[in-house]
């Protein structure tokens, strides 16, 4: 059984994705907390291209990019519960939404935060909520009346979107906007609570106050 190491950072939602996936498969691993302002030699050698966390090191094999790592975990530990669905069309749907969430929807939060002026902020907010409604529809279709995107159990999309919940909640506090709006996305709002309490997740997502303190430490420093 080759050893598993995860180079991470407690506040990174992308690292959290990998932690949740490892937990779903009940994989024991060593978590190595990186200081992102003084990156370790191991990190620089394991991910020379991007020099970022997360990096999963399985034996002596490093894998980078959170979505790539999650798929790797699913395929390398094929005995455990499946993370991605088995049907190719369902897999394609899950991968589509994973890319949408990561590349298009999540950046809208930053767009909102950094938008200057009322009009720009309102426009960014509208785009964000349009996306939220799309994700609500995707959840309804994917969950088929069950509790998760993956159905009865946590699946790929749950991990991809759910890993962002800690930061979404923090931004609700710091921006004073209810981003996970129950009126716009009732199923997703319920799913969010359910997901956060799931055994594979409960000790992974950082608590809101800790993240608020973390953000404040940056603004004080600058």
């Amino acid at each position: 059984m080759a050893a598993v190491k995860l180079l991470g950072f407690w506040a990174s939602p992308f690292v959290n994705r990998v932690q949740i996936a490892l937990n779903l498969k009940s994989i024991s691993y060593e978590l190595i907390e990186e200081n992102l302002r003084a990156k370790s030699q191991l990190l620089l050698e394991s991910n020379p291209v991007h020099k970022k966390v997360p990096v999963l090191i399985h034996g002596d094999k490093p894998i980078s990019e959170s979505l790539v790592i999650v798929e790797y975990i699913d395929e390398a530990w094929s005995d455990g519960p499946s993370i991605l669905p088995s049907d190719p069309f369902a897999r394609a749907t899950a991968r589509f939404w994973a890319a949408y969430i990561t590349d298009k929807w999540w950046p809208l939060l930053t767009e909102y935060r950094t938008a200057e002026g009322e009009e720009a902020k309102a426009a960014a907010k509208e785009k964000f909520f349009e996306g939220l409604v799309l994700l609500e529809e995707a959840f309804v279709k994917s969950s088929q009346g069950k509790g998760y995107f993956g159905g009865e159990n946590i699946g790929y999309l749950d991990v991809v979107l759910g890993s962002l919940l800690a930061w979404l909640r923090v931004r609700e506090v710091t921006q004073n906007v209810t981003f996970l709006d129950k009126t716009k996305a009732p199923e997703l709002a319920a799913w969010a609570d359910r997901f956060t309490l799931n055994p594979a997740v409960v000790n992974v997502l950082p608590k809101t106050q800790k993240l608020v303190d973390f953000i404040n430490s940056f603004t004080k420093a600058s």
Partner: protein
Amino acid sequence: MTNEEVRVIGAMESAFSRRVEIALKMKGVKYEYVLENLSNKSPELLKYNPIHKKVPVFLHNGRPIVESLVILEYIDETWTSGPSILPKDPYERAISRFWANFIDTKILGALTKIYISKGKEQDANEEIVELLSILENELKDKKFFGGESIGLVDIVANLIALWLDVIQQGVGKEIFTKQTHPKLFKWSEEYMNCSIIKETLPPRADLLPHYFPSAYASK
């Protein structure tokens, strides 16, 4: 598998829809090609890809899949008797996915900057030379990224073998040549010489006037 309806909505100039065609040809899958005019998008395109409104759209028995990387994985998982697009080993698969992602985020991003700046931004030019060197390193001594035959990364790198080359010609900068990246250049020659690639990619003579209309007027 019989009675399978496979359709691809693509565009002449789209590296991304060409990828899907390459994959289908590798697998020997017959498909109907629907040519889209991206400056006047069809109702069908907007219906099947309402979020991104882009090509390619892949339709298998009426069910749409979009995003070229997602489509390539679907094709590989659905038609299992032909040559594999991704390797079998989980670690090798992860490596392939990593580099495909690298091309579609880093290299595509730099290439877009070069095109928009008409090659005048020195930072962008230097950046892409560096990125191509990083990718070239991954090739090692292999003929293709996929080994002896083309795989996922080679398919995705159609962007580099043709589109990057067209754009460098159009802006008049040397960012990818035999001198700058000898190994990767050799790869692109082998790649562009593959029969599937030759019959699937558009001619340079069609791409140049598309991207540089004033310099290369269509005949």
